[in-house]
């Protein structure tokens, strides 16, 4: 219930157009403060001092054979994949599983898989 308090309060401020002592709209003031807070937000760091990344990006991802992938249900006929072929090696990244970005090496070439 407590999670609903802030949105309900904000909605109330928007609808009623409550003004502060200077005659400015309270909601507009809040929106400005939130924007400034977001802009000044420091970059999130890990414990070891490196910059924090998001959304499970991998640096040494595992790859499996086509038969294994089909058997495990990772890919089926109509599944869309991002396919790359470098040298004699080819790799498919199922679109639903790739997330945003993966660091990988295909055919000895370091690549960033993303689309």
């Amino acid at each position: 219930m407590k999670f609903a308090t802030i949105p309900v309060l904000l909605l109330g401020l928007i609808l009623t157009g409550v003004k502060d002592a200077r005659g400015q709209d309270v909601y507009q003031e809040y929106a400005r403060w939130w924007k400034q807070r977001q802009e000044k937000k420091p970059i999130a760091m890990n414990k070891d001092g490196s910059r924090k990344g998001y959304f499970g990006v991998q640096f040494k991802p595992k790859s499996i054979s086509a038969a294994e992938a089909e058997e495990s249900g990772l890919v089926q006929g109509p599944t869309f994949v991002l396919g790359v072929s470098i040298g004699k090696q080819s790799r498919a990244y199922p679109l639903y599983a790739i997330g945003e970005l993966q660091n990988d090496t295909v055919g000895g070439v370091p690549i960033a898989a993303s689309w």
Partner: protein, 237 residues
């Protein structure tokens, strides 16, 4: 898809946690520079102004990819996918597929071929940045690719050969040879065995295109018909 190598150094990329023009921003672990993922261009940090080399990749159905590359391996994420998310078919409806376009990059310039324009014609013979190219849409694989139309100093013009609604082969008007639309290999005719050179081309959402390539061309529109956003950007100092 791009090479993580720049001036002999390999970089590792991670997600910044925020988006630009509806698409994510990434940073490299080595210098902390920030990069736009669609254009692979560094916009902030010590490597500002540098660009990564784009790699040729295709968005294609698994069935067709496996047929083209039987020895392919598959990326396997650590995450355990539920049956429901695995069965979720990206672009399962035609209308959702038609929101995509083929972004062809030649000499750091870009041109978009929306699937909406590509699908009825199957092949578009075009010249972009003085490069004669063929943008090809293969409906049975829901995939679009781009090839250079030059073979042995001769420029070819392709026309589609369809069979039961599927794009079976490409036929060049000059010699009448038949080519594989996804492999770019001549399979029949006087040019048999020849291979077309692929171009860097990747699927992109049409609505996102203008945000990243404000000066990019869109097939089927006149160069003057640029978005208002592109015009506003140019006006800014």
């Amino acid at each position: 898809m791009y090479r993580r190598e720049l001036d002999g150094k390999v970089y590792d990329f991670d997600h910044c946690g925020y988006v630009y023009e509806g698409s994510f921003v990434m940073f490299d672990k080595q210098t902390g520079s920030e990069w736009i993922h669609v254009t692979a261009e560094c916009v902030m940090g010590p490597l500002k102004g540098k660009s990564l080399d784009l790699e040729i990749a295709q968005v294609i159905t698994w069935q067709k990819w496996e047929a083209l590359h039987p020895d392919t391996t598959v990326f396997s994420s650590r995450r355990r996918w539920t049956e429901r998310s695995r069965n979720r078919k990206a672009f399962s409806t035609k209308s959702s597929r038609m929101r995509l376009g083929l972004n062809v990059v030649v000499a750091h310039a870009s041109k978009l071929y929306p699937y909406e324009s590509l699908e009825p014609q199957k092949v578009i013979n075009d010249v972009f940045q003085k490069t004669p190219l063929a943008a090809v849409f293969v409906p049975q694989a829901d995939c679009a690719v781009a090839w250079v139309r030059n073979v042995d100093d001769r420029t070819l013009t392709f026309e589609p050969i369809t069979r039961e609604g599927e794009l079976h082969r490409l036929k060049d008007k000059e010699t009448g040879s038949l080519w594989g639309p996804l492999t770019g290999e001549c399979v029949e005719g006087t040019l048999m065995g020849k291979q077309l050179e692929p171009l860097v081309a990747i699927a992109i959402f049409v609505r996102r295109y203008r945000g990243f390539y404000p000066d990019g061309e869109v097939f089927g529109t006149k160069p003057s018909e640029k978005s208002t956003r592109a015009q506003t950007r140019k006006a800014q100092p």
